[in-house]
Amino acid sequence: MRRNQKKHTGSENEPNLKGTFISVGVLGLIIIISWFGVFALFISR
């Protein structure tokens, strides 16, 4: 009855999200680098 209850078409036609993937990857790296940076400072003190 509602349009959004149509059968979902499965994952074969997933949108192309390569750019997104790289972007979040960079974000993740920022988190990891800053965490280990501060961790190193913590250890050195």
């Binding site: 979902h8 999200l17 920022i30 988190i31 800053s34 965490w35």
Partner: protein, 563 residues
């Protein structure tokens, strides 16, 4: 039971609900208070950075900690709560409607909150409540300070009850339908807010008010702190979630796209409800009276609340990329070019998103158990939350203001104001980068937060910090210019822009979007899990705190300059 005048309940008839004049006045009133607070709080911020630069002294016997209390209360508690409640009401009014009766009760919420704010602000202004916005015992403010805060909280509950009722009535009228995404999100946020603020309300009503009035001789300091932080962490998510609402469900419309995933958006909000509350110990990591194992358990739970933010980050980029590709912008990053950079309704929240990258990374560091000793109560923390709440949340709220105010006042966002808004966004970005950046570095060097200018007996370290405080004065002054500009924009939008119709952007789902599973609407289960997690995280350590309590503390008012 009154159902707003929707007319036909046909497919999608719900979205273009119109907001009537009377409702608009209600929503606007909350936002007026928010912008008055922005101006007052911003002025205090300017004074703070000037004092801390070492080249300015406050006139007329005004104390540094008095203005800092005002800054914290007015910006972190008043501006945020009023803006959020006004905005959330507008979202509810637009998606599920509001009845006359609900509107009247909402005015009660507004007045209770406003009177409470006025009472609290007055005690600070006369110098009787320089206890900072966290009002840690056993520093004692004037009893009216606490009474005013209690009223603000109670008023906000009334607003929450109305929001729940609005959705409840809508669901009764639309059996078997999923609730509108934004209404779902508002309700999650108000449930979280209610459960969380119970803690601080109990502390204020049972501990602080009787003690400050002299009916109780002593106060249990650690219990009061624990109840405060049980509330204090979800408080920051109460600020953040309305920004996420705009990101998930409004920004896609502004950029000409669709909601990336309705179900994932809901799921992330449910996860925020679960994990925002049982984590307050991460603000108490360096306190002597809490068992370290329980601290660590709450650290683990804190890390869980990172996950819905990771989901949000993915959703945002994905919305941008999918929309861009649909518009024919290919390549790995070509889709970035389609984004409406010259539309301030997009640009301001987008900068807010960017600020959340260092903001979030900093948050993970802060919560990292023993690593917290490196940053706890240093000015790094102040730098951190000026990114998260002071940029991510605030710039998103500004982004909302650009269309919400004209929509409510029957005016339009003109090209000229749009341009001013873009300048405002740049000014804020520059000012905040300088101020927050300097705070972060100075904090890593060990400098404390919540401190007036001091040379600390002339140590080399203190000399080094001075340079960063100068930088903060520069950044803070730029920020204050940004606040003046924003207040000007607000006045323009509210009273002087040309009459017309401004869009209330609400994104729709993709045509072929997979259905949202109905189990996401299992409100009772969500509340039950939330309570179970809270009980898990708090019961044992809380009993432990009470059983091993030292003698309580009498009130101290002379340290804050009263007696």
């Amino acid at each position: 039971m009154e159902i707003p005048k929707i007319g036909v309940f046909e497919e999608n008839a719900r979205l273009p609900l119109t907001i009537g004049k009377k409702e608009a006045n209600l929503y606007l009133s909350f936002i007026y208070v928010a912008f008055i607070s922005l101006f007052i709080g911003g002025l205090m911020g300017l004074l703070q950075v000037l004092v801390r630069s070492g080249s300015f002294t406050l006139p007329w016997g005004i104390g540094y900690y008095q203005i800092l209390t005002l800054h914290g209360v007015v910006l972190a508690l008043v501006l945020t709560t009023f803006f959020i409640i006004g905005f959330q009401y507008a979202l509810m009014g637009k998606t599920v409607g509001i009845s006359d009766k609900q509107r009247k009760v909402s005015w009660l919420a507004f007045w209770v909150m406003t009177v409470g704010t006025a009472i609290t602000a007055a005690t600070i202004l006369v110098g009787k409540a320089s206890v900072l916005y966290t009002f840690y015992a056993p520093l004692k403010a004037h009893p009216l300070f606490y009474i005013g805060l209690a009223l603000v909280i109670v008023g906000s509950w009334i607003a929450g009850f109305v929001n729940w009722r609005q959705l409840y009535l809508w669901k009764k009228a639309h059996p078997g339908e999923k609730s509108p995404l934004l209404a779902f999100m508002v309700n999650i946020n108000m449930i979280m807010w209610f459960i969380a603020s119970l803690g601080v309300a109990v502390s204020v009503l049972i501990q602080f008010i009787p003690w400050s009035l002299g009916y109780a001789e002593t106060i249990n300091v650690l219990v009061s702190r624990t109840l405060f932080w049980y509330f204090g962490h979800p408080l920051v998510y109460f600020w953040l979630l309305p920004a996420y609402m705009a990101w998930y469900a409004i920004i896609p419309k502004i950029i000409g796209g669709k909601v990336f995933s309705d179900s994932l958006a809901r799921l992330s909000f449910v996860l925020f409800l679960f994990f925002s509350i049982p984590v307050g110990f991460h603000h108490q990591l360096t306190e002597p009276g809490i068992d370290p194992t329980w601290k660590f358990i709450q650290v683990v739970l804190t890390f869980m609340v990172v996950i819905p933010s990771l989901m949000t980050a993915f959703s945002m980029f994905a919305t941008f990329e999918i929309t861009g590709r649909k518009k024919g912008f290919g390549g790995l990053f070509g889709w970035l070019r389609h984004l409406p950079w010259k539309d301030v309704r997009f640009l301001a929240p987008f900068v807010g998103m960017l600020a959340f990258i260092p903001g979030g990374a900093g948050g993970i560091i802060n919560a990292s158990h023993q690593m917290n000793t490196l940053v706890h109560n240093t000015i790094w923390v102040t730098g951190h939350f000026h990114l998260t709440v002071g940029t991510t949340v605030i710039l998103t709220f500004f982004g909302i203001t650009y269309w919400l105010i004209p929509h409510l006042t029957g005016r339009t966002l003109t090209k000229e104001v749009n341009r001013l808004g873009i300048i405002q966004t740049f000014v804020w970005t520059i000012g905040m980068t300088i101020m927050s950046g300097a705070m972060h570095i100075q904090g890593l060097l060990g400098a404390p937060r919540r401190s007036s200018y001091s040379e600390y007996g002339g140590t080399e370290q203190a000399v080094q910090w001075g340079a960063y405080q100068m930088a903060q004065a520069i950044g803070g002054t730029i920020l204050f210019l940004g606040i003046i500009l924003m207040v000007y924009i607000f006045i323009k939008l509210a009273f002087f822009s040309p009459k017309g119709e401004e869009e209330f952007p609400i994104a729709e789902e993709e045509e072929n979007a997979p259905p949202t599973p109905m189990w996401l609407e299992n409100w009772k289960l969500w509340v039950a899990i939330t309570i179970a997690l809270i009980l898990f995280a708090y019961t044992i350590p809380f009993i432990d705190i009470i059983q091993n309590s030292p003698p309580g503390s009498p009130p101290f008012d002379w340290p804050i300059g009263n007696s």
